[in-house]
């Protein structure tokens, strides 16, 4: 019954999305006064409620493990802990698509409910675009991946969930990315709406900005969490593999970062109009492309569990009509939009343009590297593109961008000179050069880690320079957001460079009682013990580890065997100190009483993810600042309107 209710709600929501699209189109052609056009906003709001109801129904059938529902029977198991039963609702294709439309419909409801700054025609066009995008996803769900499909005979037991996915980090990772993707879909709808009505104004950028910021924060968190998951769950000791699917999450982030900065220019200075629209389309394209690459299995990747070529075709079709349509519209309309205000090279806008160009170049580098195997395979050549391409080629654009990022925020809008900030430039350059010389002499590092560490130090200093000579309590929250986000990037960069410069690896085959060492750590394998879990058994290697001969502590990494479905995973153990992590992996194979151990000492590796969190915090501060500013402006506007009305009434 609950499942049927969910399905009915989903169909109704799809009908409302169609109404939303129709209303928007009529408003564009006729005017915003017609009857159906008046229904656009209510349709969007009601649609949000219905999809939320539908998703609630899916959560419910998963929570009670209703095995007559096909999706539950194939993806869940009565023996799973409740939290993983519930997260199992979106740990599969159908459920994750439903989660996507749910978040998208709720976002649509929110803009329909509260966004009143833009001209009504632009708003109607935006909501029509949102309805159009949603309609595609409804079609996908209802026609080819119905999450509420019943089995003719209820199953006696579920078929489990991929054990790699039974992890709290991964239960949160896909939804986080989806929130990000959906935020970009809203930015996309705004961009299409503005293109349709040719109203590319600072108000448009202001309306779009919180959504970009929100999407960007979620993408940052999603990438950070996904990278940490890969780091400790896959047991390879790496945090980023330039895997197609990782790239698929990085590309929208790069586009969103560029969009964020260009929308700032548009909002403050009414410049970069066409470019902002283009980025709005590109950012969402990248998230759709990401979904396509993950689901279609067109490229080989660690995310192979989500693959289905037929669904790939459907997503490719959606990609074609959304992005193809938007780019066609762009080609037809963008010529009619003029570029907006001019500015000189040495200005805040100038720096932001450089930032945008560099980010776009990095995006192009990643996109090319990701799709290159697809291209060569068409000519029967199998290649795999990895770190030897991405790291150096990306770095060519990343380091100039970091340099501009250090000084750009110090420049004034419109027209400025570098002479005015020469002291600050000298300070940052001094830190950079000192870093390169000292670290180079002390450790003799390779070029990329050396530059990475030096730039990280210089950027960490530079990120606080915009606060110089200001009363800290009067600095706007959004400026704090920028400072914090830039500082976070420096921290993250420091972690990455340190990891690649100083990691020590040791592979050892130890008997019980045997000892070895890695970096400053002494490791003794005390005993190997069997362990049983709710749906797995494991061997655990109990070891005593001590840092530089200090107090030993006990850790027990496991090699686990799941039985539903049968699969082997490693549960690595991380010992975190402020200055790095010891990473220990237990191998399963026992050859003559010896056990394979893999040990890594990774100095400052945790900074990568701390940095990611700090960047996201910066984004959150920026949202708070912007939304507060918008609310204040709205209150002022209302008061002015009231006074004017009073004055008129008096007159």
């Amino acid at each position: 019954m609950i499942a049927e209710l969910g399905l009915a709600a989903l169909w109704l929501a799809a009908a409302l999305a169609a109404l939303q699209l129709l209303g928007g189109i009529l408003a564009l052609r006729g005017g915003t006064e017609s009857d159906i056009a008046g229904l656009t906003r209510p349709a969007a709001i009601l649609q949000g409620g219905l999809v939320a109801l539908s998703f609630g129904a899916l959560l419910w059938v998963f929570a009670i493990t209703d095995l007559s529902v096909k999706l539950v029977a194939t993806n869940s198991h009565t023996m799973k802990p409740l939290i993983f039963k519930i997260s199992g609702a979106w740990g599969n294709h159908e459920g994750s698509m439903l989660l996507w439309v749910t978040v998208m419909a709720l976002a649509g409801a929110l803009i329909a409910g509260i966004e009143r700054r833009l001209p009504e025609r632009t708003m109607q066009a935006t909501l029509a675009a949102q309805g159009f995008v949603a309609l595609g996803f409804y079609a996908f769900l209802l026609l080819s991946s119905n999450p509420f499909e019943r089995l003719p005979q209820p199953a006696t037991e579920g078929m489990g969930l991929n054990p790699l996915l039974q992890d709290i980090g991964l239960a949160l990772h896909p939804p986080t990315l989806y929130f990000g993707y959906v935020g970009l879909s809203v930015a996309f709808s705004f961009a299409v709406g503005a293109l349709l009505t040719r109203q590319v104004t600072p108000d448009f950028a202001r309306a779009m900005r919180p959504w970009i910021l929100g999407a960007w924060v979620f993408l940052t968190l999603g990438i950070t969490a996904g990278s940490y998951w890969a780091y400790y769950e896959l047991g390879w000791g790496g945090y980023w593999f330039w895997d197609p699917v990782e790239n698929a999450s990085l590309m929208p982030w790069l586009a969103a970062t560029a969009l964020l900065h260009s929308a700032s220019v548009l909002a403050s200075r009414d410049a970069l109009r066409v470019w902002t629209i283009m980025l709005g389309v590109v950012a969402f394209s990248m998230s759709m492309l990401g979904t396509f690459l993950v689901r279609s299995g067109i490229l080989t990747s660690v995310h192979a569990f989500a693959v289905d070529p037929e669904r790939g075709s459907f997503i490719l079709f959606l990609l074609a009509i959304y992005i193809g349509g938007a780019l066609l519209l762009f080609a037809l309309r963008a010529g009619a939009i003029n570029e907006g205000e001019r500015f000189s090279v040495a200005s805040r806008e100038g720096a932001l343009v450089v930032n945008n160009v560099m980010l776009s170049a990095i995006l192009a580098v990643v996109l090319l590297g990701t799709l290159y195997p697809l291209l060569t395979e068409a000519f029967d050549v199998r290649v795999s593109v990895g770190p030897p391409y991405f790291n150096p080629v990306g770095a060519i654009f990343a380091f100039p961008m970091l340099a501009v990022m250090a000084v750009g925020p110090l420049l004034r809008w419109r027209k400025d000179g570098f002479g005015r900030i020469s002291k600050e430039i000298a300070l940052v350059a001094a830190f950079l050069l000192a870093g390169i010389v000292l670290l180079g002499l002390l450790f003799g590092l390779a070029i990329l880690p050396l530059l990475g560490l030096s730039f990280a130090i210089a950027l960490a200093v530079a990120s606080f320079l915009p606060l110089r000579g200001r009363k800290l309590r009067r600095v706007p929250i959004e400026t704090w957001g920028m400072v914090v986000a830039h500082f976070g990037l420096a921290i993250s960069l420091f972690g990455m460079a340190s990891e690649s410069a100083f990691t020590e690896e040791h592979l050892a085959a130890l008997e019980e009682g045997g000892a070895t060492s890695v970096g400053p750590w002494q490791v003794r394998l005390e005993a190997v013990e069997p362990v049983a879990g709710p749906n797995w058994t494991a061997i655990a290697g109990r070891m005593a580890v001590s840092y530089e001969g200090g107090e030993p502590q006990t850790i027990a990494p496991q090699s686990r065997n799941f039985w539903a479905p049968p699969q082997q995973t490693t549960e690595s153990v991380l010992v975190t100190r402020w200055n790095g992590q010891l990473y220990a992996v237990m191998g399963a194979d026992n050859r003559g009483g010896r056990y394979q151990l893999r040990l890594w000492w990774k100095p400052f590796v945790t900074f990568i993810w701390y940095g990611g969190l700090i960047i996201a915090l910066g984004g959150i501060l920026a949202i708070i600042g912007r939304v507060r500013g918008d609310l204040k402006r709205r209150i002022v506007r209302r008061k002015v309107a009231e006074r004017r009305a009073e004055a008129e009434a008096l007159a």
Binding site: S285, I298, S313, G324, L332, L374, L375, A378, R382
Partner: protein, 175 residues
Amino acid sequence: MSWRLWLPFMVFFGFLGLAAYQLSQPRDEFVKSAMVGQELPYFTLPAAVPDLPGANSEDFADGKPKLLNIWASWCLPCIAEAPQLEALKDEGVEIVGVAIRDKPEDIARFLSDHGNPYTRIGRDDLSEVQLGIGSSGVPETFVIDGKGRIAYQHIGDIRAEHVPILLEELRKAGR
């Protein structure tokens, strides 16, 4: 209207065509070596265990076809294929082992646990031979003809049903 505004649309259109074409193609999970049919690249590898010689590319040009087995003591499928390599050795096939990123004591233990089908074993600590010959994983087995040319590539562990296939390939290579 500027042609530049059409550029994103054109690029996207190109991508669409490519992706649609690739989606319609059957998936092939194996990475075939581009070196099949070509000369074995030059290499000399030091001995992996004291009682067997190392491996050189010149060893293969003695007129007799051989198997070149890429393996490692840390590789589980290599244990699974050990009996098949024994069977091939019993058929009189000469098998040269290339041990990938391995240690002499581990290699020795593997050979004493699972038997030694090899006449020579070279230590390839940098995977240079593996990469040079176009092997993307462990284990892989190559048929090398008497002139030192790579005649055939077998990807993955050798199962019982693969033994006759390899013998046939060796025969074709002039055994």
